[in-house]
């Protein structure tokens, strides 16, 4: 049951083949079994069981709320959840219990979803590995997959060479990849949903900026953040997006246009499609495997009659620099509210307000956060504002224009890699500092955030080491439906394999539908 799609489970619930409580208990048990992944910061067992009970009543009365009723979901721990601790993986918010639900959380709950828990992340969503939170790093479930263990180059025993999930929404990715829930919310500011989705073999969706409410999402960069969706297939993403999208009077950056219900057609006429390949995304650091997959994907579209053309996004090489300036500046501003007075950690230093604030922020934030605050403040200084911040805003406009030009030349969707390589071992990842890593890993993803476009990472194939590789599709602003349509078609073609988690298979928790999995091998 856990390996099914949302629609299938929903149907099963309606038919009584399984109950919400059974599903809930199954997921809770899996969460316990996969505790070593460290995907969850808080497991809201009582809450989930209670919700399951209520959902069950509804099903018994034939009054289910919809496709998400009774479905276990998880939420990244930077979304406010009423009555449930929300930490952002930071000492600053340890013990903070918000009095309200983020709009997207509320929407899920209003549809009857079961909240399994809050997932792990990089502190305040700053990072690309989900390794820099106070609750420790998240482990990629694929580290323990049969596929990886059989094919990895080195013959290590033990756990020391486990792989990262990517970040910053690694906990949500791991939670979905390990079947502990059917969907999870992440956030995406520079790729924080798409990156771990690619590393964990999931569909990671970033909606258009303004489509989904950010009210209750503890912000990293207000002008770029969006809630992200993790699922195991595109259809499921569409269901969740359908619930979440729409104007929120509490978020002035959501658009007021009425949202048409999301309908992803089963078939699509690929021959009418124009796929753009940005040439600047061909960087030397890109792994040859991913390059090859990218090329094959382009061929795939072409072979079905789509027009595949090269486009240019000339300012690509500056986008990471631009992002760096704008991101740190907004971080500097957004973090100013953490002073220990109204909520969160409060230092014992009491001599003066300033001293208390300084000590609180010293104790509450990790190095990464503090570093970004200081950099950001530097760029916002009167004497630097014009040269750095305004300059970055101008470059941002050039980047946005690049995309507009590309789309105006007839392109419907851009096809790019999501990551430079497959997931790397943790020990290797931590050799570089957070900022450097982020700068490297966000290379294909953050320009999309600057332009506010929708994008999705679709898992494509396994690498030579048996690890997932995803490719990214980027759509026009507010053409999320079209993007998902293309993604669904693409997903159907590539038939990415299901993760074979050894211990889950051994104890019968995970039963594969077919004895063997087939996939169109692209490698």
């Amino acid at each position: 049951m856990l390996g099914r799609t949302l629609r299938e489970v929903s149907a099963a619930l309606k038919q009584g083949q399984v109950t919400p409580t059974e599903l809930c208990k199954k997921c809770l048990s899996l969460i316990k079994k996969t505790k070593y992944l460290n995907a969850y910061i808080t497991v809201s067992e009582e809450v989930a069981l209670k919700q399951a009970e209520e959902s069950e009543k509804r099903y018994q009365q034939g009054q289910s709320l919809g496709d998400l009723d009774g479905i276990p979901v998880a939420v990244k721990d930077n979304f406010s959840t009423s009555g449930i601790e929300t930490t952002c993986a930071s000492n600053m918010l340890k013990g903070y219990i918000p009095p309200y639900n983020a709009t997207v959380v509320q929407k899920l709950l209003d549809q009857g979803a079961l909240l399994m828990g809050k997932t792990n992340l990089d502190e305040f969503a700053m990072g690309s590995g989900s390794t820099d939170g106070v609750f420790g790093p998240v482990k990629n479930p694929w580290s323990y997959s049969k596929q990886y263990r059989e094919r990895r180059r080195h013959d290590e025993h033990g756990d020391s060479h486990w792989l990262i999930t990517g970040g910053s929404s690694g906990g949500s990715a791991a939670a979905v990849a390990a079947f502990t829930c059917f969907a999870a919310l992440g956030s995406d500011t520079g790729g924080s949903t798409r990156n771990p989705a690619a590393h964990c073999g999931l569909v990671g969706f970033k909606p258009s900026y303004g489509l989904v409410s950010r009210h209750g999402l503890i912000p990293l960069v207000n002008s770029m953040d969006v809630p992200g969706i993790f699922t195991r297939c595109v259809d499921d993403t569409a269901i969740v997006l359908g619930v979440l999208a729409g104007h929120d009077p509490k978020d002035s950056t959501t658009v007021q246009d009425p949202i048409k219900p999301l309908m992803i057609p089963g078939e699509m006429d690929v021959s009418r499609l124009c796929i753009g390949i940005p040439k600047e995304y061909m960087v030397p650091e890109l792994s040859s495997e991913i390059q090859s997959l990218w090329s094959q994907a382009a061929d795939l579209f072409a072979s079905e009659g789509a027009k595949v053309i090269e486009v240019s996004l000339p300012h690509t090489c500056y986008s990471i620099v631009c992002y760096h300036v704008l991101c740190t500046s907004e971080v500097a501003s957004n973090m100013a509210r953490f002073d220990g007075l109204q909520y969160g950690h409060r230092s014992g230093i009491d001599v003066s307000t300033e001293a208390m604030y300084a000590a609180t922020r010293q104790e509450g934030f990790n190095d990464v956060v503090r570093g970004r605050i200081l950099s950001g403040n530097f760029f916002l200084l009167k004497e630097n504002y014009e040269n750095y911040f305004i300059k970055a805003q101008k470059v941002r406009r050039l980047i946005v224009r690049d995309f507009v030009n590309a789309f105006e030349s007839g392109v419907d969707v851009l096809l790019t890699p999501t990551t430079l390589s497959e997931a790397v071992p943790y020990l290797e990842f931590i050799k570089e500092d957070n900022r450097t890593r982020s700068a490297q890993d966000d290379i294909f993803t953050q320009a999309v955030n600057m332009a506010g476009l929708p994008a999705v990472s679709v898992p494509v194939a396994l690498s030579n080491q048996g690890l997932p590789i995803g490719l990214q599709l980027i759509g026009r602003a507010f053409c999320d439906q079209q993007l998902l349509t293309v993604a669904k078609w693409f997903e159907k073609q590539v038939q990415f394999p299901i993760i074979q988690l050894q211990d889950l298979m051994d104890d019968g928790s995970l039963v594969l539908e077919n004895g063997k999995l087939t996939s169109v091998s692209l490698t």
């Binding site: 406010s80 918000p98 950010r214 209750g216 002035s252 950056t253 100013a336 007075l341």
Partner: protein, 557 residues
């Protein structure tokens, strides 16, 4: 009439503090006549109490003072600027605070339409250009009453700019001439108010109440066109009245709905401007004027004795009557302004740019608001002059004193007496009595109805004007007696019986042959003496005009 202290001079010309007259102005309390009553909030007429200032040394160069004001006005609205929490003056601590106001992480600002309208109307009333596109910024600094660590304001592109405020001052030695002056308005911006800190020195802590955090403010920035405390007070008073007429703010200074910060510098005319200081926390018109004048003098004294002025922030100490440096806000401050990313630009429309299918709830139409502007004080004053034939300075006094215009209009409505008489009694008599006892119009023991009745009696010649004054005095005691009752009790009615009066005249003439003789001898003072005698004989119950007429007839003059 009070002696003048300040000869109000246009900036750039000679600043003359006529200290010689200073002494005579220091009598507290008594002020007679309307000309000396320039406005002051709700309380009685302010005087520039200059006892703390020093005399300049002889033979000094001329100094000119430059004063600019930043006025923060609390918008009169139900809810706050960016949140739906209530705006209310007195409430239990932290009860009018939303999650956003407390800066809970993840909360976002949502703009209140009413505040936008208030800003546009104020901008229009102050002759500003309304920016069709304005934006919001974050101004960063740490303070216990600022939960987010930044204030949302409009620094780069405010909602209104380049306007002017016109006010009138009394000029000349006798302060009898009125002149119109203008101060330019640099901009009007929407911004958030901060919370309140209460210092508990006993327990060495500060108590924070966020009820006021997030309340909508209009910051009105005046260019430094003012030159002294009195001008500043008058200008602010005029602004206050405009805001109250518009309904955009109650502008009550005592309740903190209108706060003024002053930027003050001095220089020699023709030379570059001096270093300026900022004086904050001025919560009454009287203290505003006092603080500014003190600071001007302090700077002059400092510079004349070879010192220098620091670009600092100072606070006015009410008890000592002087400005002192504020220790809290020292150090190089850099607000690191940044656009507020959670608020896309605010777009306003007019009749020409209004989109056809616009949701009326979502658009603000400048032209529509312009049509809805109520009568502004300057127009009211013009109307009063025209309608009632009163002098311009009287119209100022009527508007300046809180409640006086309403009082005046009530009396006018209820009496037959002509407006000029009403004006005289309201401005000269009533106001005099009020000032004597430092009372507000609302505290007057004499109600409009009572005064109206008195004027009716006077008008119908039932009593003489001197009797009327007596009656007023009695009414002032507030014993609850009506004018008519007092008249009858004290037997102040004018004699109505002409025949009786003629007899009285005759009797008086008979008993004062010498005076009659003087009258016949054309002694000019004699007739008045005779009239006086008749009056006395009549126990002041005879109309002097009538007495005169009868006497003249009898004496065949």
């Amino acid at each position: 009439m009070a002696a003048s202290v300040l000869r109000l001079i246009y900036p750039g010309r000679r600043w003359a503090l006529a200290w010689i007259d200073g002494g005579s102005r220091q009598r507290s309390g008594t002020q007679t006549g309307p000309a000396s009553n320039w406005a002051r909030g709700q309380s009685s007429v302010a005087q520039l109490s200059l006892h703390t200032a020093q005399k300049p040394r002889k033979g000094e160069h001329k100094w000119a003072a430059v004063v600019g004001l930043e006025i923060h006005v609390q918008i009169s609205s139900n809810s706050k600027l960016f949140s739906g929490a209530q705006v209310c003056f007195a409430a239990p601590p932290n009860s009018l605070v939303s999650f956003f106001d407390a800066s809970l992480p993840g909360t976002l600002p949502v703009l209140n339409r009413r505040c936008v309208e208030a800003a546009v109307m104020t901008g229009l009333a102050l002759n500003c250009h309304i920016n069709k596109k304005s934006s919001f910024d974050r101004k960063h600094y740490f303070y216990a009453d600022l939960p987010a660590g930044y204030q949302i304001t409009q620094q780069r592109l405010p909602i209104a700019a380049n306007g002017h405020l016109t006010y009138s001052v009394y000029m000349g030695k006798k302060r009898s001439q009125m002149a119109t002056k203008t101060v330019r308005i640099k901009q009007i911006q929407l911004e958030q108010d901060s919370g309140k800190s209460l210092h508990d020195d006993l327990r060495s802590q500060t108590l924070i109440d966020l009820n006021r955090a997030g309340v909508g403010l209009l910051e009105v920035v005046l260019e430094p066109d003012l030159c002294c405390g009195e001008e500043a007070a008058i200008a602010v008073r005029e602004l206050q009245m405009i805001l109250q007429a518009l309904g955009t703010s109650q502008a009550n200074m005592a309740e903190g709905q209108l706060r003024v910060d002053a930027n003050i510098s001095v220089h020699h005319p023709g030379e570059p401007l001096g270093v300026r200081t900022e004086v904050k926390n001025l919560n009454s018109l009287r203290f505003l004027a006092k603080a500014i004048d003190y600071e001007i003098q302090r700077q002059i004294t400092e510079l004349e004795s070879g010192g220098e002025i620091l670009n600092e922030t100072r606070s006015f100490d009410y008890k000592l009557g002087c400005t002192v440096p504020m220790r809290d806000k020292e150090g190089k401050q850099d607000y690191r302004f940044m656009p507020e990313p959670n608020l896309p630009p605010l777009v306003l429309y007019d009749a020409t740019s209004l989109p056809a299918d616009a949701d009326s709830q979502q658009v603000v139409n400048i032209d529509e608001l312009r049509d809805m502007l109520p009568e502004l004080p300057s127009t009211t004053r013009e109307r009063l002059v025209e309608q009632y034939g009163i002098l311009p300075e009287h119209s100022f006094t009527l508007l300046n004193e809180v409640g006086l215009l309403e009082f005046f209009q009530s009396v006018i409505k209820e009496t037959r007496a002509e407006p000029k008489k009403v004006t005289n009694w309201v401005l000269n008599t009533l106001l005099y009595y009020l000032k004597q006892q430092n009372l507000a119009v609302s505290e007057s023991p004499v109600t409009p109805a009572a005064l109206a009745e008195l004027l009716d009696l006077l008008d119908s010649k039932a009593i003489s004007s001197s009797a009327a004054k007596q009656v007023f005095e009695e009414l002032w005691k507030g014993d609850g007696k009506t004018a008519a009752q007092i008249v009858s009790e004290q037997q102040l009615e004018l004699m109505q019986d002409r025949e009786a009066l003629e007899q009285l005249c005759q009797a008086t003439m008979d008993s004062h042959p010498q005076v009659v003789m003087d009258v016949r001898n054309r002694n000019p003072k004699a007739i008045n003496k005779l009239i006086g005698l008749v009056r006395r004989a009549s126990l002041s119950r005879a109309d002097p005009t009538l007495i005169k007429e009868i006497l003249e007839k009898k004496l065949s003059l």
